[in-house]
């Protein structure tokens, strides 16, 4: 049924779109044949409760006013739309505009979603939120929203990531969150999600799972998109105001796909606007070391949704690889899978090397240090700009909007290493300044992370047993 459904829905949606229908507000649970709820029965009641609460909140002026107030007076929205004039010279002369999600509180788009979901958690009477995090950005945002709204917060993070991102572990702890290092499976983002789901099933009475991307079981993909739609709505109004017309193209990076679906939303129903999602190509899609899920993955079910998935012939999830922790996920949101299949959005891989070139270029031409995630979108925009302006008498007629989803402060160490700015001891060459954090904080994170609450404590203790 799923495949038949997919085929029919695809045809219908593609037809509807061509006839001027709308793609913007796809409600889930299915996006064509993708999405759904591939979840244990134990969690279905919680998903139903969440869906019900979300649907009511969406129609409640009081909730919307609360969210809009936080967006404006806490996050700093609307975020700017900045024309990148010197950067544009390297993109065939197309005019490139940056949607400045990097200027939001906590430094990325993540804050939009966590504030919305934390408000919903309060509405459901939940006192505790849990979250997964890769590099720590969503964990920091979750800890921030939890502190603001007086919720207990537990963040699951791969043990290896805890070591690499000790500074973000400390940030979360400063904000009052408990960080639980995940030591089972491959100890990465997908395993952090697995452990968060195990916590949720054990503590669902008082706990909301604050999932960080537009993936997972319904209602998460449609709900996370809803909280990020503000990006696309602002960007559309701003580009119209600044250029008097719609852009020729919109570009975003894709891991799970939340910043992308947020900005795409604003333009999905504008047929003249080409939309591009840039996946992490890692070392190159022919090397096997990448996170180009749509480009090379196959449909499957993981973490609650049917979507494209990096998997082997047995259906075992394959580890993804990317210089950008935020894109290093072997799945992708189901709405993206659908938009790829119907041809509305073009998804292409960008290698680590292409992303880092764009990272450096933006630093040098615009005085903005972008997140490495967002650098994939920048690299993609350069390619798209060259493509769209080829043979054009006036390339400046071509306008491209790029979602600059986050700032790069968190990536300084990775970038310094990539650009060979460090000596063997990890010190910035020619100085005595070490980029490596002392061992202390990460190790302390592991021992202090055992939280006060019962279930995660048990889980962490069990994990330790297994390790020993």
């Amino acid at each position: 049924m799923v495949d038949a459904l997919s085929e029919n829905a695809d045809n219908n949606a593609a037809d509807a779109f061509l006839q001027g229908g709308s793609l913007k507000h796809a409600p889930g649970p299915y996006f064509g044949g993708y999405g759904g709820r591939w979840m244990p029965e134990s969690l279905i009641a919680a998903l139903d409760e969440l869906e019900d609460t979300f649907e009511k909140a969406k129609a409640d002026p009081e909730f919307l006013a609360q969210l809009s107030d936080l967006n404006k007076n806490y996050s700093g929205r609307p975020s700017l739309l900045t024309e990148a004039k010197r950067f544009s010279e390297h993109a065939g002369g197309a005019r490139i505009f940056l949607k400045r999600e990097d200027l939001n509180h906590t430094g990325s788009h993540k804050i939009n979603n966590v504030l919305g979901q934390a408000l919903l958690a309060k509405r459901m009477g939940k006192t505790r939120v849990i979250a997964e995090t890769g590099a720590g950005q969503h964990g920091v945002a979750s800890a921030t929203a939890a502190a603001l709204l007086g919720l207990e917060c537990v963040v699951y993070m791969g043990a290896e990531d805890c070591r690499r991102q000790a500074l973000n572990v400390a940030r979360m702890q400063l904000l009052g969150a408990t960080v639980v290092p995940v030591v089972n499976g491959s100890q990465t983002l997908k395993d952090a999600i697995n452990d968060a789901l195990r916590d949720w099933v054990s503590n669902v009475d008082n706990t909301h799972y604050l999932l960080g991307t537009a993936a997972g079981a319904h209602p998460f993909p449609a709900m996370v998109r809803f909280f990020h739609e503000v990006i696309g709505e602002e960007a559309r109004a701003q580009i119209l105001e600044q250029t008097g017309k719609l852009p020729d193209a919109v570009c975003a990076c894709i891991g799970g796909g939340s910043n992308a679906i947020g900005i795409f939303h604003g333009f999905l129903d504008d047929p003249s606007v080409k939309i591009y999602g840039f996946e992490a190509g890692g070392d190159g899609v022919d090397t096997g070391r990448h996170a180009a899920t749509i480009t090379l993955g196959k449909p499957g079910v993981l973490h609650g949704a049917r979507s494209y998935l990096m998997q082997d012939d047995d259906g075992q999830t394959i580890e993804s690889h990317s210089i950008s922790a935020g894109l290093d996920y072997p799945g992708v949101g189901p709405e993206h899978a659908y938009l790829a299949d119907i041809g509305r959005v073009t998804y292409e891989p960008i290698t680590d090397s292409e992303a880092m070139d764009a990272f450096k270029l933006l630093c040098r031409t615009e005085g903005i240090i972008p997140a490495i995630e967002s650098s994939h979108a920048l690299a993609g925009a350069i390619k798209v700009g060259k493509r769209l302006t080829e043979g054009s008498a006036d390339p400046s007629e071509t306008v491209i909007v790029v979602n600059l989803s986050g700032r790069g402060d968190k990536d300084v160490e990775t970038a310094a290493e990539w650009f060979d700015m460090l000596d063997e001891e990890g010190k910035v060459k020619g100085t005595n300044l070490s980029t490596r954090k002392p061992k202390g904080p990460a190790d302390r994170a592991e021992t202090e992370a055992v939280p006060a609450t019962a279930a995660p404590a048990a889980s962490a203790a069990d994990n330790n047993e297994d390790q020993n």
Binding site: W38, V201, G315
Partner: protein, 268 residues
Amino acid sequence: MTEQTASKSAAAIDRARDAGRSALVCYLPAGYPDVQATIDAGIAMAKNGADLIEIGIPYSDPVMDGPVIQAATTEAIANGFRVESVFDVVAGITAATDVAVLVMTYWNPVVRMGVDEFSRRLAEAGGAGLITPDLIPDEASEWFAASDKYGLDRVFLVAPSSTPERLAMTVKASRGFVYAVSIMGVTGTRQAVSSSAEKLVADTHAAGAERVCVGLGVSNASHVREIAAYADGVIVGTALVAAIRDGGVPAVADLTRDLSAGLVREEA
């Protein structure tokens, strides 16, 4: 429950019932530590009191499993376990015993092989059906078709959080038995059996289920005795995985014998 196809699981549970006791359902993951060991352990469980055997397919993202089973299945995959080996395990056990052998699997490995192809090969191997921890009836249309085509049991899960509507729907969708998870949580041994299990079994029976088996956190004969008083079957997993880890096939045989001592309904 739909019963148009003769259910191997139902027959096994009914044989135990006729003998005045609950059925013992024993779980081990395939390929831990290797495929032959799983076959040997399965046969040993059958000879020492297991009425049904659940063979788990090791999977990269087992969200319903606690640390002991995770460690075992991670090791099985690291040792080179391939999904199709599960059919060798099922065939090996069914050739040597008359227990009903079910496969417990997260859904993606089945999707990857193809639901029809997987079902055909499972039936060929003599398997009774599938237990599907992350597949709810709402998403199972392909599995309904394939299980009907090949005469396989569909064992869905119910939980203390299931609403009356979902209980009724899940009972109707199931064949063989309904798997009641005793607590809100993941697999693993626990000190005591949750009191929510008895109510869930009663509610599931009331929703029309003829056979309800209880799993999660059942690890010793005393737990088995407690659950056997009200459930049609008792499912043990983590304790058996720990046994094969620590003492190999002989330890599995001993534990199964101990567990089966708890099955007899004293009041029945």
